[in-house]
Assembly symmetry: C2
């Protein structure tokens, strides 16, 4: 109890500052700094004790913004997305948020649904000072991201790898091949492919893998339907293609959302719980495919595992060496009623 701190009085509006604590504990500000430092710094136990006590008394909180001015580290991580409409995002982001927070990072969500927004963020915001940027949005390549955020550390998750940045990508090959194999084992000989937004590199790659897997297993691709984007609605429209007499043995969709649309479009005409005229395969393994109404066979990866890789890169940036190949997370085939 120091009844007369000699520094200026704590301004409750702003919160107590280091100077207030230093005055109360009768030490220098430097000592306060050391007392709060995470890595060991020279300080006598008694003084540390005094400081901590004084801090508690004043309700002192180190100002991390001020801190970051000198340390150049903000404990902020940016998550850059096109939007968060996609159902698949929900499952992932909760997991991600949790992981980042466990690392002591706080997550800045940045939505860039068009390229012209990029400019806006260059002007605006604290975003420049994040420790790392986790990039889902495919609006930009790694180079752009690295300059957009002053951070030199971007983790690419948008299928646009870059030798200078770490990347994590699901390895669709395994899962898709398993799906196609499953189909052939059930007698599928012809197939249709329902694709999403083809400007996305991820989608491009996925399509190639399907094409390859199909030909590899001797399945003839008789039809390709561009469904516009990964939405239910686009899938529903695409579904109209499969109502005629002449339908392929199987329909592969590059997203579960589209597959759900296809399924419902068929149900609108033939009220079975699954399309009996063809087998249906989705992609993403949305938690929704566990709902009874959408028992869609799908391809997915372990999101915890995916996020773990990201977290590792964030926690130990040095675990990445320029030139390292993208980390790949295996996918697997999940069989459900439609497949």
């Amino acid at each position: 109890m120091n009844d007369k701190p000699k520094g200026e009085s704590p301004k409750s509006a702003t919160g107590a500052t280091m100077a207030d604590v230093a005055a109360l504990a009768r030490v220098s500000r430097a000592v306060v700094s050391r007392a709060f430092s995470v890595d060991p710094r020279p300080i006598s136990p008694e003084k540390r004790e005094r400081v901590l006590k004084a801090a508690a008394q004043l309700g002192y909180q180190p100002n991390l913004l001020a801190q970051s001015l000198t340390t150049k580290r903000t404990n902020l991580v940016a998550v850059v997305v096109n939007h968060i409409h996609d159902l698949s995002d929900l499952d992932l982001f909760d997991c991600l948020l949790n992981a980042m927070q466990s690392l002591g990072k706080q997550v800045l969500f940045i939505r860039v649904n068009s390229v012209d927004r990029v400019e806006q963020f260059l002007r605006n915001g604290v975003a420049h000072h994040v420790d790392a940027a986790l990039v889902w949005s495919d609006f930009a390549d790694a180079a752009t991201v690295r300059q957009m955020f002053r951070s030199d550390f971007a983790v690419m998750l948008n299928g646009r790898p870059d030798p200078l940045s770490p990347a994590v990508v699901p390895d669709s090959t395994i899962g898709i091949r398993a799906a196609v194999r499953d189909a052939t084992e059930k007698g599928v000989r012809t197939a249709a492919l329902v694709t999403g937004r083809e400007s996305s590199p991820v989608e491009q790659a996925r399509i190639q893998i399907y094409l390859h897997a199909l030909s590899e297993h001797g399945v003839t691709l008789v039809q390709t339907v561009r469904a516009g984007d990964y939405t239910y609605q686009s899938g529903y429209q695409a579904g109209a293609s499969f109502l005629s007499d002449k339908v392929p043995d199987a329909v592969f969709c590059t997203s579960d959302a589209s597959a759900m649309g296809v399924l419902d479009a068929c149900r609108a005409h033939f009220p079975e719980s699954r399309p009996t005229r063809f087998r249906l395969y989705g992609y993403d393994n949305l938690s929704l495919t566990d709902f009874a109404a959408y028992p869609i066979s799908s391809v997915g990866y372990d999101q915890e595992e995916f996020v773990e890789h990201i977290a590792r890169f964030v926690a130990e940036p040095n675990s990445f060496t320029p030139g390292d190949p993208p980390v790949s997370v295996p996918t697997r085939f999940i069989s459900r009623l439609t497949g």
Copy 2:
């Protein structure tokens, strides 16, 4: 083109600073500050021109962290949630993110799925310095939030209003009454209520409104099923209650997710596309209820409108005066196949 800036050379690692620009443009740092200020400050057009040009040349970006050290404003807004599992979140957060960014704010997502996490955030992070906290999580009251974030500006969206903080709440009454009225008009006399996590004040209030609306319309509540939380799975389990011969005329669920579960549970036994033995009403008006498989009559509010109110509070904190009542956003009833 100044071929010899007289200040220190720009350190490309950190990025150019105000001093670099000032040197290049041959003005004082204060002038640079003014040139970049949003609100009008005295500066001659020529000098502003020179500064902007120099800045462009150097790729200078004002450091908003440093800025906030003096201005006490960070342009950061915290969104505090329990988690982002709920399907209803998806629709809302994208909208919110967009709105905040339009205001030039960046959004910090903070996930506090348990009360003990609060402590962690008190120690950690930049969160203390946000300009505003938008609170969905019901883990804490306004007072706690106000001290958790040093910000004195919290917007309560969790149904825990506080005289000192603005709040926005959906006015469930309108929509729920409309739903019940719709039911009675269709001959409903008895009803069951499927409830969610009752520790949530929002849920508590919602239940009361249902009870009131039911009795008001002369509908007898014959059964209440606690479905645990707002999930499909809990709804599915609850659905078992409605498979016997003796079922109520209508089942009201306090969330669409539960209603979807109830619907599928019934379908598992009676393969109609809607439960023919009772009418089914949900709540939230999830975009999923527009999917053909879940044509659930529901109660919802206009999310754009909801978010607009929030945005207004953030943009003009003074539009709130302590003691003001919560802003309420009307809900409406959306009739679909099941209702």
